[in-house]
């Protein structure tokens, strides 16, 4: 049997493994959401948290660019309303209040292929991953050189290595890929993983993740 880690659970798992994660605190009530936003600082993002929802954006379960308390209250109510129109309330775990990510969005994924065994993917991230199809694969484990070439494989690397930008540190992606490779090597129970998006600027932070573990 497999175990699926989503939302907070997945982020906590990664945080425990030493990965940089956008600051995220779950709120069970509007009041808690306000306190969380206060601690994190605006702008924040709200996300529905439920085992029932794998692709949050598809069901309208994400609100971005929330800049103040009023916006937060409205977004909170809208998310709950949206959720209960499709699912039983008992499946609602809460709403995640999250620090806003900055920079370019990447996806880093892991998959256990029937022929090749564990593979790692780097791609142009966000919700349009499949449509953009700007991805690169390698067999795990990978070395530093592989990580660098994976970045070069992507069309978006033209932006990364352009002389016009000094906002994004590509080296961080290299180190991040190696870290993921090490995690899977150490932890063979990880069968599939989407870290998406991962925000890259002068720092690198995981915004959302889902992980499938074999148990």
């Amino acid at each position: 049997m497999d175990k699926l880690l989503l939302g907070m659970e997945a982020l906590d798992f990664l945080k425990n493994e030493g990965f940089p994660v956008l600051r995220s605190i779950i709120a069970k009530s509007p009041g808690q959401a306000l306190t969380n936003a206060e601690m994190i600082g605006y702008p924040v993002v709200l996300k529905i948290s439920s085992k029932k929802v794998i692709h949050k954006t598809e069901i309208g379960g994400v609100k971005t660019q929330i800049i103040n308390d009023v916006g937060l209250m409205n977004a909170f109510d809208e998310l709950i309303e949206k959720f209960v129109s499709s699912f039983d309330r008992e499946y609602l775990e809460g709403v995640i209040v999250q620090e806003s990510g900055k920079g370019l969005e990447f996806i880093v994924g892991v998959y256990e292929d029937k022929q090749f065994g564990p593979v790692i993917m780097l791609g142009h991230g966000g919700i349009h991953v499949e449509a953009l199809n700007d991805v690169s694969f390698r067999l795990l484990p990978i070395r530093k050189r592989d990580a660098r070439l994976m970045i070069e494989d992507l069309l978006i690397s033209k932006v990364l290595f352009s002389s016009r930008q000094d906002e994004i540190d590509a080296l961080l992606i290299e180190e991040f890929l190696i870290k993921v490779s090490n995690l899977v090597e150490k932890n063979p129970k990880i069968k599939e993983m989407d870290l998406n998006p991962v925000f890259v600027s002068k720092e690198i932070k995981i915004c959302d993740a889902r992980i499938r573990l074999s148990i």
Partner: protein
């Protein structure tokens, strides 16, 4: 796994052809023809219980009746008889086998699979390395061992390119292109049903043990455990360039996966990544494959991305320059000293900077060759495209080039040339210079430029 046995299989001192024949309709006829007409120097033992002599040689009723040692058995008997024959080979301590006979796992019939299992068991019991079944065989060009049913492979010139193919048809395609394009080859083989010699075994042998092999070409349709192939290549130590052509490109990911990664993990995407990971150059068609293999075998490595284009006529030079830039290479900027020398050779009637229009000197082979020599010494140039179309007045260009090359030291940078003329005009001279002294002839300016770009990719990957 088969220590020492593969070397003997590919360079046998004695070959038994089981199922040898003098009947043109039988494969056993063609295998005998390939060996004998192909110039094989070792002992050939035809095996066929119905004949006393075959092809002027004593024929044997069974492999067990042969007195001497048999290094290689080529088996072309009917499908059902192969296990029995192989068993006899095992008892006779035959070193290795090629099973050309088909009708096994590749068929829809269950008997085929059962017979192949039997072949596998026998090969394990006697530890016999087997190429096939269901293969056209292999050809060792280096040592004139044509262990296939197509004699014409023996017309390929000797060189350093080795093809390991999952398809016999592809070997025929590439083998005949190699003859046409004067590509020197070391070995070519089709793995067939891969009963115990699969890509990893073959690649390891040609990387580590076969000295004549300098470039390895793989044609892959699909294999069960691709990781095993990649893990035989020690990337950090490998000095032989590997080129791969992958067909059967399945882009579909895992439809059952709810993850982005799983749904994007199409088989071909992973192959592409793995090729990059192990420093294998992937090519997209047969021409790209043959050109790149040829240049890798005959030229020095390209150590940078700055290319000079020397063209007898402006047009082909511009075409080549366009492609070079599109493929990520750049046109070199000659040093002052080089430019001065060029200006001494060429009158100011055409463009004397890169791409150089050698037009004003086109009727003078000496000046064209001087330009090539001068630019080959330029410190700002890593490789040269040397493009010359025939016209009546430059008919002596290639023979002069041949004389120069004969006297010169080999070029230290890759020189890729186009020498286009009506057939019969320059062919003889081109035959003498192509692949010599780091000079390689490619069919068109576009293909020459793309080949240069591939040399660059290979150098970068092998850093």
């Amino acid at each position: 796994m088969f220590e020492g046995k593969l070397r003997k299989l590919f360079t046998p001192h004695s070959v038994a052809v089981i199922g040898a024949s003098e009947n043109f309709e039988k494969l056993g006829y063609h295998v005998m023809k390939s060996l004998i007409k192909g110039g094989y120097k070792g002992a050939v033992y035809p095996v066929n219980p119905n004949s006393k002599t075959l092809w002027g040689k004593e024929a044997y009723s069974s492999v067990s009746n042969i007195k001497g040692q048999v290094d290689l058995a080529i088996i072309v008997v009917p499908t059902e008889r192969v296990p029995k024959v192989l068993e006899e080979c095992g008892k006779k301590q035959v070193n290795g086998a090629v099973i050309i006979t088909a009708g096994y796992r590749e068929t829809e019939k269950d008997e085929g699979k059962l017979l192949e299992d039997e072949i596998r068991r026998i090969s394990e019991r006697f530890e016999i390395p087997i190429i096939g079944p269901n293969t056209f065989g292999f050809v060792n060009i280096t040592d004139c061992v044509n262990a296939s049913f197509t004699y014409e492979f023996s017309l390929i010139k000797k060189g350093g390119v080795t093809l390991i193919s999952q398809s016999g048809g592809f070997c025929h395609l590439i083998g005949f292109l190699a003859i046409e394009e004067r590509v020197g080859m070391a070995k070519l083989m089709s793995l067939g049903n891969r009963v115990n010699i699969d890509f990893p075994e073959a690649v390891k042998y040609f990387l580590d043990e076969d000295r004549e092999t300098r470039v390895i070409v793989l044609y892959i349709e699909g294999i069960d455990v691709p990781r095993r192939l990649f893990e035989t290549i020690e990337r950090a130590k490998n000095k032989k360039p590997i080129i791969a052509y992958k067909s059967g490109r399945n882009e579909k990911g895992d439809a059952a996966s709810k993850f982005h990664t799983g749904s994007l993990a199409g088989n071909y995407r992973i192959w592409k990544g793995a090729f990059r990971q192990w420093g294998i150059l992937e090519v997209q068609d047969s021409e790209d494959l043959i050109d790149t293999a040829k240049a890798l075998d005959s030229c020095e490595p390209l150590m940078g991305s700055r290319i000079a284009v020397l063209s007898g006529q402006a047009g082909p030079g511009i075409i080549a320059a366009d492609i070079l830039e599109k493929e990520g290479l750049s046109l070199s900027k000659f040093s002052d000293q080089t430019q001065k020398k060029i200006n001494e050779i060429l009158p100011p009637l055409a463009i004397r900077t890169n791409p150089v229009d050698m037009g004003p000197a086109w009727h003078s082979p000496q000046r064209i060759i001087s330009l090539l020599n001068v630019v080959s010494e330029d410190e700002n140039t890593d490789g040269i495209l040397f493009l010359n179309m025939f016209a009546s007045a430059n008919i002596s260009l290639v023979s002069e080039l041949e004389k120069t090359l004969r006297d010169n030291e080999p070029f230290k940078k890759p020189i890729i040339a186009c020498l286009n003329a009506p057939s019969g005009v320059w062919d003889e001279e081109i035959n003498k210079i192509d692949g010599e002294k780091g000079f390689c002839v490619i069919r068109t300016p576009e293909r020459a430029a793309r080949t240069m770009a591939n040399l660059h990719r290979v150098s970068r990957m092998m850093e």
